[in-house]
Symmetry: C2
Subunit: 337 residues, 2 copies
Amino acid sequence: MSNRISAPSAHDVARIAGVSQAAVSRAFTPGASIAKATREKVFRAAESLGYRPNLIARSLIKGESGIVGVVIGNPMSPTSMSALDALSALLSAAGKHILVFTADGSSAVDVHVEDLLRYRVDAVLLLTTIVSTTLAERCQAEGVPIISFNRPPRGSKFFASVTGDNRGGAKCTAEHLLQQGYRRFGLIAGYSESSTSRDRESGFTSFLVSQGLPQPEREVGHYKREGALLAARKLLARKPRPDALFCANDHMALAAIDVARYEFGLEIGRDVGIAGFDNIDEASWPGYELTTYSLPVETMIEKVVAMLLTRTPRKSPGHTTVEGHFIPRNSTRRTRK
Amino acid sequence: MSNRISAPSAHDVARIAGVSQAAVSRAFTPGASIAKATREKVFRAAESLGYRPNLIARSLIKGESGIVGVVIGNPMSPTSMSALDALSALLSAAGKHILVFTADGSSAVDVHVEDLLRYRVDAVLLLTTIVSTTLAERCQAEGVPIISFNRPPRGSKFFASVTGDNRGGAKCTAEHLLQQGYRRFGLIAGYSESSTSRDRESGFTSFLVSQGLPQPEREVGHYKREGALLAARKLLARKPRPDALFCANDHMALAAIDVARYEFGLEIGRDVGIAGFDNIDEASWPGYELTTYSLPVETMIEKVVAMLLTRTPRKSPGHTTVEGHFIPRNSTRRTRK
DNA sequence: ACCGGAAATGCATTCGTATACAATCCGTTG
DNA sequence: CAACGGATTGTATACGAATGCATTTCCGGT
């Protein structure tokens, strides 16, 4: 009595159907040279055994796995979530699959990408993380494209990227705040190292400076609620108090609203304008009505997938910037209607 | 000039190192019989070529892929997210990897699981979804364990499961509400088909009934904000108005708070008590202070991983229930301090 | 010097599928 | 009827690493 559990192989099916293993393979290969009658015979036999081609073996032969590796940086943001969601839908429609890693530390990313290469993934997508240049080079050398999502790479040579218009969105926000009559600006940045944060910050700041205003007061919130609570407390305690805060993402903006409202007793909009970035769900809730800038994650992922699927090797990787749209809400409206 | 891009193989390394391919394999296999000097020679050669063992080939031989398939139901909830996060951390520590699918429709789940089987995954984890019994049977037959997270299966024979104590949590909530003096109860369910929702519902309702109270008024919110907004409007418009609402998850509870506060002008806690389930981040925000029940997702995932890693085939799959803890906050406090 | 045995190594085969190539089959046409 | 061409089908091999088995090496013991 064999204890071994194993799925039926093409040979088993071939024996039942009375054909060769090659015929079985062809039956499952669209466009292969095989008679309709034979194909059906094979299908019937396969059905009776519950046979499905082993993708591992197929990958070994074809040299490509049908798997796209995704490395997600911490913290797992809602943006990453919806990106992953959209990606999964589009890729599985194309018959590809997703191998996911979450990166805790920054050094872990490289390790994960190494693992991905060992699976001979067809491409690597970096969500909210970056990877060392040496590793990127190796991917390039092995013909595995790396695409960076919302993180335009410095050494742009080895990456492709799809990025939201962080600078533009931040500039829109600055214009709007200025037009609403706010004058003393505060800024809660994400990480100093994050290019997303830097772009949002510089887009905001440079517009203000170009209008003859001083640099805004600045604190760092690390993209997290806790950090933003601290940052908002510091900024709002300054004299004179800033009358508008721009936060590098919505999560921090919501935290800032809570601090302003519940700790400083300010009325949002009238006493202090607060704007965020990303347009997460909570931004539209009646308790917040947060002014923000929406990046079209779905569109961006569509571009990513297009890049992944058109395997045009040897072309220098492209960089795409996608525009979003500005969404003014009551959190930056000076006078309530 | 070859245009072919391909990673170096064990043969290449063997040639450089002046050993056989088998030796290369052994060098990378912990505990294999190989001299230290040889191993180092191999490592040096591998290093110089950038060689890494091809996991696809390894999987083919060993009959196991080191991949765990995860199917995530829509909508991608924060709970799924943190579960995925924890899972990724634990599994990659164990050298396993995660192939992710998101299931749009309910029928899609089966298709995804079929795909997973074709990759010869070592196990399948269902997050927030269920799969047909026939497919479950097939997985069982092929020796691929299926574990269901937070969805105890009806036909428990083919699944293992790790579930939060939904009934118990709901009962705690009912006790608390009663003790706070609420008497006219409303309930916003998730899906009628979802066992999680049914457990939370029945835990709540049956306790009330056991205390001689009538069945609560009931609406279905489909676990989504939009649905919950509608449900809350209907419930709060009834005469007499319920003085407490229990919602099958926090998202819906937050929606209910918004409706009660901004549309009905009620003071949360005093006029109407509102409780949720899951303890998502927003529940603790000062604008909500939502009473809820927290399930220890990390602990649950640890159990899942333990199940996945101890390949004890042929044992009837086990079902585990994990307790969480009740978190009373101001949203169900009749008298503010 | 010799032998025994453990350790190290190489050889050949295996996993399951795809595919180049050779061998058929079939219907058509001259 | 024979030759021909296209469509099918089978045979054999390859993909890259792991492993059973046979062989060699090495070391200590006598």
